[in-house]
C-alpha cells in the first residue's frame, strides 16, 4: 500500500500545474531561439514572451509594458528597492515592517548599515501595523516604503490600498512584495496606487526560477542587472523563454482560480483550522483570522515544539512548515510571530498549513486524523502543561 501524501506547504512552493509544464516544453525542444535574434528562430520565442507579458499584466490589470521578468521574488524585491534608491540619490530613508520576508528585511537591514535610515514598523498581536505610526514616520527624506501584501507565515493581509494612498500623498514611492498574494487574491493596480510589485512564479503553480517586477509607468528606476536591452533596458540578460511562457500560463490559470481560492480553498482551510482548534490540545490561531489569505493557517500548539511535529507529520506523508527555531537552522524562532508578541509557550510550537486548489476534503480529514494524536503524543513526552494534559484525559 502506498502512503498517502498531502502537500500543505504551498506558501513555501507549489506544484507546477500540468498545463504549465505542457506550455513550456516546446520552448526547450523546438522553439529554443533567442527572441532578440534576426532570424526565423526568434519569431516563436518573441511571440511567446509577448503573450506571457500580456497574461501576467492581465492578472494584476497592468499594462504589458509595466511587466519586467526577473529570476525570482527575491530579485524583484532587490531590484525594486535598490532601483528606486539609485534613482533618488538625495533621499536616504526607507520604511518597512518587522514582519517582511527576509528578501526585503535583510536587504533593508543591510542598507541600514550602509548609509540609509531604516524604520521598521511594528505590528500588533493580530499582525497589523498602525497607520498613525506610518504617518508619523514618513518625511521628506523617505524614498521608498516597502510593505508586503500578505504575510507568508500567518497569511495576514495588510490594507495595501490605504497604505499606498497615504505613502503617495507624502511623495514617497510604494513597493509591495505580493509574492504570497498573487494568485490567491485579486490584485488591480488601477485601483491600488502601488508603484512596484514583486511576484514569484513558483508560488502560483509556475516553476522556481522566474519572477516578475511590476513597475508603474513613469517611475524612475535604475536597473539592478545592467546588460542588454531586454525588458526595455530594465533587466539585462537573455529572456528565460520557457519559464516566462510557464509563468504566463500560470497567470492565466490564476485569473480563473482566484475565485476558487476565495471559496473552495477558504472552506477547506476553515474546516482544517476549526477541527484542529476543537480536537487538538491547546491549539490557537496566530494572527487576524478575518483579513487573511484564504489558504493559510498558522496554528500554535502549547508546550510542544514545531520540528518534532513536522517530523511526525512528515512520517505520515504530510508536508507542512513551522515557525519554530529548530526548523530554521538558527536558534531564533520566527521573527513574524515574535513581532506579534506570541508568547514563548506557543511560538515554538507553531505549525503553518498552506493549502492550494489541488487539496481536497480528504486531505483535510487526513491531516486532522493524524495531527490530533501527534499533539497528544508530544504532550505526553513534554515536561510542561502536565495538569492540562491530565485534565483533558
Amino acid at each position: 500500500m502506498t502512503q498517502r501524501t498531502v502537500y500543505a506547504d504551498n506558501n513555501a512552493t507549489t506544484q507546477v500545474a500540468p498545463e504549465v509544464v505542457e506550455a513550456m516544453m516546446p520552448f526547450f525542444t523546438k522553439h529554443y531561439g533567442n527572441p532578440s535574434s534576426m532570424h526565423f528562430m526568434a519569431i516563436e520565442p518573441e511571440k511567446a514572451v509577448k503573450q506571457a507579458r500580456e497574461q501576467v499584466a492581465q492578472l494584476i490589470n497592468a499594462d504589458p509594458s509595466e511587466i519586467v521578468f526577473t529570476s525570482c521574488g527575491t530579485e524583484s524585491d532587490n531590484a525594486a528597492i535598490r532601483g528606486i534608491l539609485a534613482a533618488l540619490p538625495d533621499k536616504r530613508h526607507i520604511i518597512t515592517t518587522r514582519v517582511e520576508h527576509p528578501a526585503v528585511r535583510n536587504l533593508c537591514q543591510y542598507l541600514g548599515k550602509n548609509g540609509y535610515r531604516v524604520t521598521e514598523l511594528s505590528v500588533d498581536k493580530l499582525g497589523h501595523i498602525d497607520l498613525d505610526e506610518l504617518r508619523e514616520t514618513l518625511d521628506d527624506d523617505t524614498a521608498i516604503v516597502s510593505i508586503m501584501w500578505a504575510n507568508n507565515e500567518t497569511g495576514v493581509i495588510f490594507p495595501i490600498a490605504e497604505l499606498a494612498e497615504l505613502v503617495k500623498s507624502r511623495g514617497a514611492l510604494f513597493h509591495c512584495d505580493a509574492v504570497q498574494a498573487a494568485g490567491k487574491l485579486p490584485i488591480d493596480v488601477k485601483k491600488v496606487p502601488v508603484d512596484l510589485i514583486s511576484i514569484s512564479g513558483h508560488k502560483l503553480h509556475a516553476p522556481k526560477g522566474i519572477g516578475v517586477l511590476y513597475i508603474r509607468k513613469g517611475t524612475y528606476f535604475v536597473p539592478l542587472l545592467m546588460g542588454g536591452h531586454q525588458e526595455q533596458g530594465r533587466r539585462g540578460g537573455t529572456e528565460n523563454v520557457p519559464y516566462i511562457v510557464g509563468l504566463g500560463k500560470a497567470a492565466e490559470l490564476a485569473r480563473t482560480y482566484v475565485r476558487e481560492e476565495q471559496h473552495r480553498v477558504r472552506m477547506l482551510r476553515d474546516r482544517l483550522e476549526n477541527e484542529l482548534l476543537e480536537k487538538a490540545l491547546d491549539a490557537s490561531v496566530n494572527g487576524d483570522r478575518v483579513n487573511r489569505l484564504p489558504n493559510t493557517t498558522s496554528i500554535s500548539f502549547k508546550y510542544i515544539e514545531g520540528e518534532a511535529i513536522l517530523l511526525l507529520l512528515s512520517a505520515e506523508g504530510i508536508a507542512a512548515s513551522s515557525g519554530s527555531a529548530c526548523t530554521s537552522g538558527s536558534l531564533e524562532p520566527s521573527h513574524v510571530l515574535r513581532a506579534m508578541g506570541v508568547p514563548f509557550t506557543r511560538v515554538h510550537g507553531s505549525v503553518r498549513f498552506s493549502l492550494s486548489r489541488y487539496n481536497t476534503e480528504e486531505d483535510v480529514s487526513y491531516i486532522v486524523e493524524k495531527m490530533v494524536p501527534i499533539v497528544r503524543r508530544l504532550r505526553e513526552i513534554s515536561p510542561f502543561g502536565r495538569e492540562e494534559l491530565y485534565a483533558a484525559k
Binding site: A308, A325, E332, H348, I381, S382, P383
Partner: protein, 281 residues
C-alpha cells in the same frame, strides 16, 4: 531537512523511558520554554548504587527527544561515578552522530544528568549555580564555565561552533566578543600545555606585517565591539609594544585582555615567543 541518522530517528519515533518516576533519587532539569527546548531527567538507584531506572520528559525538537532517550539507555546499569563520565560527545556517538547545529541537544542531556546527580548528592542550587559561573549569554542563559567545559571537551575553535553546541550567542549576538575571549582563554592554556611544531622563521619585515595584519583582522574588531581599541607602538625582537585606547585604557580587565587575548592571538598567528607589553599613554 535535517540529515538525522537512523539511530536518531529510531529514538525519536520510539523514545525509550518517557515519563516520571515516583520518589526518584535524583532529578535534574535543563533548558526552558523560552529557549525552545527543555529536559527533565530522573533516576532511581538499586542497593548497589547502580541506576536501575531512568526516565525523561522533553520539550523540544527531534534530536532533543532522541538525545534524552539515548541518555536514559546509556545510564541504566551504571554507577553515578560511571554515569558522570559521560560527555555530550558520547551521547552524540551513541546516536550515530548529530548534525553540528544540533549538538546543543547532547549538551543539554549531559547537563541535565549532571544536575540530577548533584540533586541526589544534596548539592544545593546555590552551590551548583556558583560552580556554573556567571551568565555570559543572556538570551539562552549560558554561563562561562559551562562554555569553557564544552569548548575544551569538544575542541571548539569558533563562536559559531560554541553556538551550535551550547546555543550561546545564537540570539542577540552581543556576547560574541566574550565567547571569543573564552575560546582564546582555553586556546592560550592549551598552547602552553602542548609543544607546538617549530614555527617557520620569519624575516623582520614579514613579522611586522603579520603582527599588523593580526591586530587589524583578529584583535581590533573584538576590542572595538567593546568600545576599545589598540595601537601598535613598536616591535623589538619578540616584544610587541602596544597602547590600549578607548574603553580598554580604563578597563580593569585590560591586563587580562592583553595577556589572554591579544598575546594569545599573536602567538597563534605570528610566533610562539611573542611577549606583549603595554605603554601607558
Amino acid at each position: 531537512m535535517w540529515n538525522y541518522s537512523d539511530k536518531v530517528k529510531d529514538h525519536f519515533y520510539n523514545p525509550r523511558n518517557v515519563g516520571e518516576i515516583e520518589n526518584p533519587d535524583g532529578v535534574g532539569e535543563e533548558g526552558s520554554l523560552a529557549c525552545g527546548d527543555s529536559l527533565r531527567l530522573m533516576f532511581k538507584l538499586d542497593e548497589q548504587g547502580r541506576i536501575k531506572e531512568a526516565k525523561f520528559q522533553t520539550f523540544g525538537c527531534g534530536s532533543a527527544i532522541a538525545s534524552a532517550s539515548a541518555l536514559t539507555e546509556m545510564i541504566i546499569g551504571k554507577t553515578l561515578e560511571e554515569a558522570e563520565k559521560i560527555t555530550n560527545q558520547d551521547i552524540a556517538d551513541y546516536l550515530g552522530g548529530l548534525p553540528i547545529e544540533k549538538m546543543h541537544c547532547s549538551v543539554m542531556g549531559r547537563e541535565a544528568l549532571e544536575a540530577a546527580i548533584a540533586n541526589y548528592r544534596g548539592e544545593d542550587v546555590e552551590a551548583l549555580r556558583a560552580r556554573k559561573g556567571k551568565v555570559v549569554c543572556e538570551c539562552f542563559g549560558v554561563t562561562d564555565n559551562e562554555m569553557v567545559r564544552v569548548i575544551k571537551e569538544n575542541r571548539l575553535r569558533t563562536v559559531e561552533e560554541v553556538t551550535h553546541y551550547t546555543k550561546a550567542g545564537g540570539g542577540c549576538r552581543r556576547c560574541h566578543p566574550q565567547i571569543e575571549k573564552l575560546i582564546a582563554g582555553v586556546l592560550g592554556v592549551e598552547k602552553q600545555e602542548v609543544m607546538r611544531p617549530l614555527p617557520k622563521k620569519l624575516s623582520n619585515i614579514q613579522k611586522i606585517k603579520l603582527i599588523e595584519e593580526t591586530l587589524e583582522k583578529e584583535i581590533k574588531p573584538m576590542l572595538r565591539a567593546d568600545g576599545g581599541d589598540i595601537e601598535l607602538i613598536d616591535i623589538e625582537g619578540n616584544r610587541v609594544i602596544v597602547a590600549l585606547r578607548g574603553m580598554c585604557s580604563a578597563c580593569p580587565s585590560s591586563e587580562f585582555t592583553l595577556k589572554k587575548y591579544v598575546e594569545a592571538k599573536l602567538k597563534e598567528f605570528v610566533s610562539d615567543d611573542i611577549i606583549i607589553e603595554e605603554v601607558k599613554p
